[in-house]
Symmetry: C2
Subunit: 411 residues, 2 copies
């Protein structure tokens, strides 16, 4: 099965909003074996919507429309759908009740704009929207499946997962589709690809492989579609992959480094504190992004100035003067000072040169020292990232979490 | 002039990468008076590239292609361009020299993949790529302007600004195009639209208005195209807008709250420290995202646990027991403790319930107290944001920066 995604909205064509919906939809469709042939963005224009629908009809089995359905949308998408599917708008009291209930909960007021949501094409299956006022719609026409969803990403994503995926799974048949994602850190995409090239060549041709990189992390996704032995085949491939790159693997599927660190700490009833210089809060932010982090994360120090490294983390000024603020000695002293101050089981310290300024020939921009301390020992490591400030902060955060993970796992 | 954007790449159609390029291009084209009619994403498929080019040719004056040019790209886009524009690939020693120089600087190695970048269509104008190995290309055909650019966003963005905008500005004529963006915080998009609806109605029809919202901030952009009086007309509109919503305006055009706070602190030779609970480091991260922040930002405490609020920020435990960790009293005590500890001119403290857990009927998820202290006085304010953890953190950060800005401005 092949799909076309049509996003509708002038706000997308002036660049006010990035169309994240298309990537979300594509990723989810791929997981059930439906490939996306084309994704287009068009404005709020009836003729353009109609011609895009006709075009998509010729090329694909599944057509997903997003946007143009909200209460403040211009009255263009629904009439276009009625014309295309030969429907009439009918008033649905049940939808009005849902809109009312939704607004009541939020202290919103029912006005003419909201009321208009209850007028829907008479020949579609309505898809319930529990977190907004615009219902989604499902049409079938000449063997094609059409879905119209609101454009707000969190509404669209929920409705896509709750309605579209189950319907398409039934229509497309998702028996025997298997995926496994192996999460790595500490190795670049190109180096990883080179390291596992023999393994990659050994895979049966029906095993699909995708590299999904983000700063500091490369995910390797294995997929097998419509094969009754898919599970065993992927398990075997994963076993052999593990033998090659085990030191780089930190998790699987939906794992995150901060989530894994959290689980490890909870399982040990252990606590954590942070001392950050160049990451400036990104490490702690990442740790508290896990709901319930307060069970193990006590807090930290943003030691942006040397003064704070000295006064708050008890770093000996001689160490900074002699070795520099970005050095193994300073990172270890920060981690130790942090552990003592917060009386936690673990601490992690990051000090580096994020850029664009502050680099030198011996310590160029991107030089970062990270130390992890526990009452028993301390480990530290030097990293040399690139010259992009934001990515240096992101990669330092990932590296710090990974060092934490390894230290806590060993315990 | 109307434009079509064509993004090429299988990685976009499996949702591996979000197509941020389209929004960037659309925003920049709009600023020079070129509107985008359609943005499409297609795979690495020669026939599909050719049919999309033909389709775009019928509908638009400007066609921007992104992706499919890098050294690891499948050899599809360049041959498709040659077929479409009737070109032959020619070897350009000058491009090879640039590729070599680029790789040398990075410690990269010239291999066959990189060398292939020096083979380019013989009837295009090459667009220099100073931060990558793939040059861009500019073609003219039957009165249409075609640009092919690499897909990596930071390369694409630089080349778009350096080459595409100047060329199109000359072709489209950007004399007398004027823009002004007014930045507001503390008011929602719908409330703002309601508040300034009379002003909006009073605008001449050729003054284009766009609302650009992000968590905690709404930008209002005024544009006038091809009008010799545009400057005065926008200035007059801005003056009248200012009279209505002055308390919400924090800056103009490319200003950021963290940048403004930084400038204010520098102009006063003043220093800043932070004490964060629910924002967990996002506030400090935002402050250090301004290069050179170390001149005024000393650092901060992530006081995630009450223990740290008490031990590090000297908050009286009775205050927490009596009023709660999320209260005016605790926020003010945190700010005072932070100011004393770090000996700065200003401090800011944030304590709140980001969610999803921790809410109660009196203090629901989204309740946040923020306090700003200086040796002379302390101000605090309560906010009630929504139920989304990430957005609560973002909006708390914006609110804290804005309170800081107002306090420092008054000084």
């Amino acid at each position: 099965m092949q799909a076309t995604i049509i996003a509708i909205g002038d706000e997308l064509l002036i660049g006010k909003v990035v169309n994240t919906n298309a990537a979300y939809i594509a990723r989810k469709l791929n997981l059930i074996g439906i490939s996306v042939k084309e994704a287009i963005v068009i404005g709020d224009n009836k003729q353009h919507i109609l011609s895009s629908l006709e075009n998509a009809h010729r090329k694909s089995d599944v057509i997903i429309l997003t946007g143009g359905l909200g209460p403040t949308s211009d009255d263009i998408t629904k009439p276009a759908l009625c014309e295309y599917f030969g429907s009439k708008l009918e008033f649905r009291p049940d939808v009005l009740e849902q809109v009312k209930a939704f607004l009541d909960k939020r202290g919103g007021v029912l006005n003419d704009l909201n009321k208009s949501q209850a007028w829907v094409p008479d020949n579609c299956t309505l898809l319930n929207n529990p977190i907004g006022t615009a219902p989604g719609m499902f049409f079938e026409k000449e063997g094609r499946y059409y879905f119209a969803l609101p454009g707000v990403p969190f509404e669209m994503e929920k409705m896509f997962d709750d309605h579209v995926i189950p319907i398409l799974s039934k229509k497309a048949g998702i028996e025997n589709i298997y995926h496994r994602t192996i999460l790595t850190t500490g190795i670049s995409e190109s180096k990883l690809a080179e390291t596992i090239s023999e393994w990659e060549k050994s895979l049966p041709s029906f095993v699909k492989l995708a590299y999904l990189p983000s700063p500091g992390i490369v995910k390797v996704r294995l997929s097998v579609y419509h094969n009754p032995h898919g599970k065993e085949i992927i398990e075997d491939a994963e076993r052999r992959l593990h033998a090659i790159i085990a030191p780089y693997i930190f998790g699987y599927d939906d794992d995150t480094l901060e989530g894994i660190v959290g689980h490890l700490l909870m399982s040990q009833n252990a606590t954590l504190a942070t001392a950050e210089s160049c990451t400036g809060g990104n490490l702690s932010l990442s740790i508290v992004s896990v709901p319930g982090a307060s069970a193990y994360y006590k807090g930290g120090i943003i030691a942006y100035s040397n003064e704070i490294k000295i006064n708050e983390l008890n770093v000996n000024p001689d160490i900074i003067n002699h070795y520099g603020a970005v050095s193994q000695q300073t990172a270890e002293a920060m981690a130790k000072g942090c552990l003592n101050k917060f009386e936690t089981h673990y601490s992690v310290a990051v000090t580096g040169i994020a850029g664009p300024d502050g680099g030198s020939p011996e310590k160029p921009v991107g030089t970062v020292w990270i130390a992890v301390a526990s009452p028993k020992n301390i480990v530290s490591e030097k990293f040399l990232f690139g010259d992009n400030r934001i990515r240096n902060i992101q990669r330092s955060t990932i590296a710090a979490l990974n060092m934490l993970r390894k230290t806590i796992e060993i315990k």
